[in-house]
Amino acid sequence: MQMLKRLIHGIQKRRFTELVGYGLVAPYVIYSLVFWVYPFLWGLIIAFKKWNIISPDKEFVGLDNFIRVIQDPLFWISFKNILFFMIVYIPLVIICSLSVALMLNRIKILRSFFASGYLMSYVSAGVAYSIVFNLLFAGDGLINSWLGHVGITIPWFSDPRIAMASIAMIVVWKFMGYYGLIFLAGLQSIPKSLYESAEIDGASNWTQFWRITIPLLNPSFIIILVFAVMLSFNVFTEPYMITGGGPLDSTQTFVMQIYHQTFTALHAGYGSSFAILVAIISFTFVFVIRKMVERDISYG
């Protein structure tokens, strides 16, 4: 009898904590169903429909939208622009942020002063720093008037050959401190003893850098590469604010196209299949980069 009572009590108590658990996760579950699962599925469905948002009829068109995206020259122009962005952005930001991290790792005095100094740019809002760089790098802006003293002016945002590179450069400004701190955390997790034994073996600084530092920074490299690739596929605010996609479509990006197709031209189905293709391409890039760069590191 006593035992049965204890058992019932135990079950009741368990049921009670389960109920509490469900109660606590309920807002999240409901919210996710409404604002995540439902839009997610809907996005998949309208990608197969022809629909202009205003009219009530949504015609099922199969893979038509996807085929039209692939045949759209602007899709390929945007793709090319993003690749160009990545080719400039990724090496440049890695060199800058790794150099900062290596230097910060060497100093003791004023380290946190410099670290927060380099991080300041990270908190600037997209719209604000786009305005600032647009004016600074304008044809008759301050930078060109300084360069004018040595006889050159650079049409940063108005030459289609370099406009995207200029945008990549200002994004480097924003993110190098952020990536620098990630590298710094990686550097500090490398055991000092490895360098000490390399020193005893007579390895030069150069050898130590390539044989110890770079391989053991692999996790930081992965994170930064993944961040940088995702960022590249999502570039929007800077070209929208500075160049509007021009000159000659040289700064069009995927997100600008999706925005334009859906919210100016009202092709919701087309925009949706565009977005799905972009997501697939960015997943592929991240996957390939991980496969190429990721190494299993172990030491100790």
């Binding site: 904590t17 604002f35 439902y38 004023l110 946190s112 908190v123 997209g126 719209v127 997501a279």
Partner: protein
Amino acid sequence: MGRSVRLSNRKQSNTLGLTVIYSLLSIGLIFMIFPYVWMVLASFKIPAEIYNRFLPTQFTFEHYQTIFSLGTTGSSHTFIKSIFNSLFVSSITTASVVFFGAVTGYALARLNFPGKTFLNNFVLFQMLFPVVLFLIPRFLLMLELGWINTYQGMMAPFMISAWAIFLFTQFFKTVPQTLIDAARIDGCSELRIIFKIILPLSKSITMIIAIFTFMAMWDEFLWYLIVTKDYNLMPLSVLLGLYTRGEYSSYPGILTAGATLLTVPILALFFLFKKYFTEGITMSGIKG
């Protein structure tokens, strides 16, 4: 003798190395803060000096006066309203992300119920998908709900964050069980346990989540651009963006004043809470 010579040589090359490092870091730092300094100076310059003089010869408040009195047809002080809109939307969202993040994270870390593993995986799953996939269907959902041009519409996609739930879940796993048990024996409700015992013990993760959420909301551009049409409801980022591309594009003084207003609050937040910014970034570097 030989040894001490070698040591002092080494010391010398070390000091030399450090001098080089400090100089390089300082030069780099000048490049990093130059755009900020220029922006603030430009917002106080007379228009003729904005483009081609770095240091102004005279200060003026005219750009700020103009920006604060700007209005649209039928209303005034649009800019001041937009600052309020930004603050309002960012604060509510931040509070909601922290509240629901903590509650859900607690349940996922500390309570047992069928389906918990599934939910834990679902949180990770959600974090994988890029925002671009959701822009259009969420916009359509806002149309359906009649939430275009409303505060709800601006905030809806950001109210609960999988990222915050994930961080809270990870952190709450480290809180000692004895504390929770003791509170239960004292008759504390689960909500009281979360907000009176666990959150105070998790101050730094809570601050990190709050600060990064606030900053992201303040900086958000694309979603606000999509769901707001009424100038009086627009957050600062969108209003400034539209002004820049529209009628004020040739008034650099007004634009830099606007950019300064958009930057200063976040910069202030950054200097107040530097520690949490650094910690948050370092954490993402270690955990990935």
